[in-house]
């Protein structure tokens, strides 16, 4: 497995080497053009051709890394983490003249670590990316911030999550980013007990929730149910809790977000569960007797 520190070290070194190479080629092109007046034996077209040839050769070499980088998100989405790791490793070790390829590769590594639930590594990689000048791939900053906020929540670092989310409110988000933001923001608001903002614009939020995958849809509506309960809206809390029950197994949900146990407290299901647990405790005694 790629160590995050060495990946970041390599990434920084490659960016420096690529920048130096680009500067060298640019300098050679300037000399080829302007130096003709000062250096009589300088053959401008030949030198320009050499610079162009070198640029094209290095660009061609960079395409390999770009192709490797492009494959990784599909592999991560398919859960094929080992293959994704291998591709990212190759992309990280391949030469690229362009910053974007390296930035994308590091972003994919952050995505992989996030998918593997290696929150500390994902957070370090996201911070490294956000510290860079993203240029042509500046839209990466939004998904990186979302990943960072989620990782911070998983690490129970609420101020860190707040800082990561803060930069997103002024941005224009895509639908999928808006869904991710809603999921992460609901988690954060529930942890700090900000119930009113959780239920703001509920109808629009539910429209987004209905497009989410099961775990996120269940969690987000679970947090909303907690808010409804805290605000004394029993009908809304029950409606949202029943939706949660239809979307995910209760134990699975609670194993990731124990806080959500609160949505069953005092409900008829909770009483039923308690009575089942009591019966299970009694039954062995009956058998033994």
């Amino acid at each position: 497995m790629l160590a995050v520190e060495s990946a970041i070290g390599r990434f920084r070194r490659d960016l420096t080497v690529a920048a130096a190479l680009r500067l060298t080629l640019l300098g050679a092109a300037v000399v080829a053009f302007a130096g003709g007046s000062f250096i009589p034996r300088l053959n401008t077209p030949v030198l320009l051709l050499a610079v162009m040839g070198a640029w094209m050769f290095l660009s061609y070499r960079s395409v390999r890394g770009s192709r490797l980088a492009a494959m990784s998100p599909l592999l991560i989405a398919a859960g094929e983490f080992d293959q994704a790791e291998q591709r990212i490793d190759e992309a990280l070790h391949s030469f690229s003249l362009f910053r974007t390829v390296k930035l994308l590769t590091l972003h994919h590594l952050a995505m992989l670590r996030h998918a593997q639930h290696r929150w500390r590594d994902a957070a370090d990689l996201c911070r490294e990316l956000l510290a860079q000048r993203l240029g042509a791939v500046r839209n990466l900053s939004r998904s990186t911030r979302l990943m960072l906020a989620d990782a911070m929540l998983e690490l129970n670092d609420l101020p860190g999550a707040f800082n990561a989310l803060n930069g997103l409110y002024s941005e224009r988000l895509t639908l999928s980013e808006a869904m991710n933001l809603l999921a992460v923001q609901s988690d954060y608001l529930a942890r700090i007990g900000a119930w009113d903002p959780l239920l703001d614009q509920l109808k629009s939020k539910l429209q987004l929730v209905e497009l989410m995958n099961s775990p996120n849809a269940a969690r987000t509506q679970g947090f909303m149910a907690l808010a409804a309960k805290a605000k004394g809206d029993a009908a809304l809390a029950t409606f949202l809790r029943r939706r949660v029950e239809l979307l995910i197994d209760r134990q699975e949900l609670l194993s990731h977000r124990p806080l959500l146990a609160g949505i069953w407290e005092g409900s008829s299901d909770e009483k039923k569960n308690e009575s089942n647990e009591t019966n299970q405790e009694i039954d062995p005694q009956i058998d033994t007797d």
């Binding site: 080829a32 053009f33 003709g36 007046s37 009589p40 053959n43 401008t44 077209p45 030949v46 320009l48 051709l49 162009m52 599909l74 398919a78 895509t174 639908l175 239920l199 509920l202 109808k203 539910l206 429209q207 929730v209 209905e210 497009l211 989410m212 995958n213 099961s214 849809a217 809206d233 009908a235 809304l236 029950t238 409606f239 029943r242 939706r243 239809l246 979307l247 995910i248 197994d249």
Partner: protein, 294 residues
């Protein structure tokens, strides 16, 4: 009655007009021009040694002008490609948010002239197929899916999704034999155990062909899979199960399943998707929505 915004879509013309054409010939054009300028410059300099410095300077200037022009053309091409990708992303959002009038206007605009990126083209055609199904133009949707499967390279997951949508369109159009064959092909693909989409279509086929007990068997054995993979769209499976329970005379189960379905999705949307559910309307109560949601 509201007008159907997809009514006048000419699918075959849209496919033909929007197919990407080979572009990139300009790269060769610029490369050959640069080479020609250099060779001519060298030839001229060898014939006029006293003017060699001037000729080399002029050749260098012409080369730089050509390189700058090539860079401008490349940047313009990249910008147009990015604009196309953004348009397809916007199209996806419009479809997902059920903003169909805007989605169809965008489809018309995107597919009226050759697209630049084969991937963006394939995605736009997939959203067109979804629009055709949404507006019940099933024959056109089947033809478009056939075209996609035959001519457009896709990853296995996307191809599976296209085959599922095609089978669903066949069922809705009453091409039952074709649909059965399509489902057999899907099962042969080894997707039976893992695909909630396939389970949903099999449930629908059994409801449509009057085999409710089989539909319920599939529903009950794959309930976890349906929930995990379909999220809120598992409402479809609950609604079809409600119809199945109703048909085999289990009204209590039918009522519970119908309530679950309408907890996850609006009854109007479910009835639009599956005309077979019309008999449940009024017979079973949908879920009661709280004030802030209704």
């Amino acid at each position: 009655m509201a007008t159907n915004p997809a009514e006048s879509l000419d699918v075959h013309a849209m496919i033909a007009d929007s197919a990407p054409r080979p572009r990139g010939m300009w790269v060769w054009g610029f490369s050959l021009s640069i080479l020609a300028v250099m060779l001519l410059g060298e030839f001229a300099a060898s014939r006029q040694p006293n003017l060699a410095a001037t000729i080399h300077g002029a050749t260098g200037l012409a080369t730089i002008a050509l390189v700058v022009a090539a860079v401008v053309v490349a940047i313009t091409a990249v910008r147009r490609q990015r604009a196309e990708q953004r348009a397809v992303a916007v199209l996806e959002e419009r479809v997902q948010l059920n903003r169909w009038d805007e989605a169809i206007a965008l489809l018309r605009q995107l597919l009226s002239s050759p697209m630049r990126l084969p991937v963006a083209w394939a995605q736009a055609l997939l959203w067109l197929a979804m629009a055709l199904i949404r507006f019940e133009r099933f024959e056109d949707a089947i033809a478009l899916h056939d075209h996609l499967l035959e001519h457009v390279p896709m990853d296995p997951a996307t191809a599976h999704g296209v085959r599922l949508a095609r089978a669903m369109a066949m069922l809705r159009e009453d091409h039952l034999v074709d649909a059965d064959r399509a489902l057999s092909d899907l099962r042969r693909g080894g997707a039976t155990a893992q695909s909630a989409g396939l389970a949903l279509i099999e449930i629908y086929r059994d409801i449509r062909t009057g085999h409710p007990a089989e539909a319920i068997d599939i529903f009950e054995s794959r309930r976890d899979l349906l929930r995990t993979q379909l999220s809120h769209r598992s409402a479809d499976a609950w609604a079809l199960a409600a119809r199945g329970y109703d048909l085999i005379g289990r009204p209590a189960d039918a009522a519970a399943a119908y309530e679950n379905a309408t907890l996850l999705s609006s009854p109007a949307e479910l009835h639009r998707r599956y005309p077979e559910l019309s008999s449940l309307e009024g017979k079973y109560a949908p879920a009661t929505l709280p004030a802030g949601v209704a």
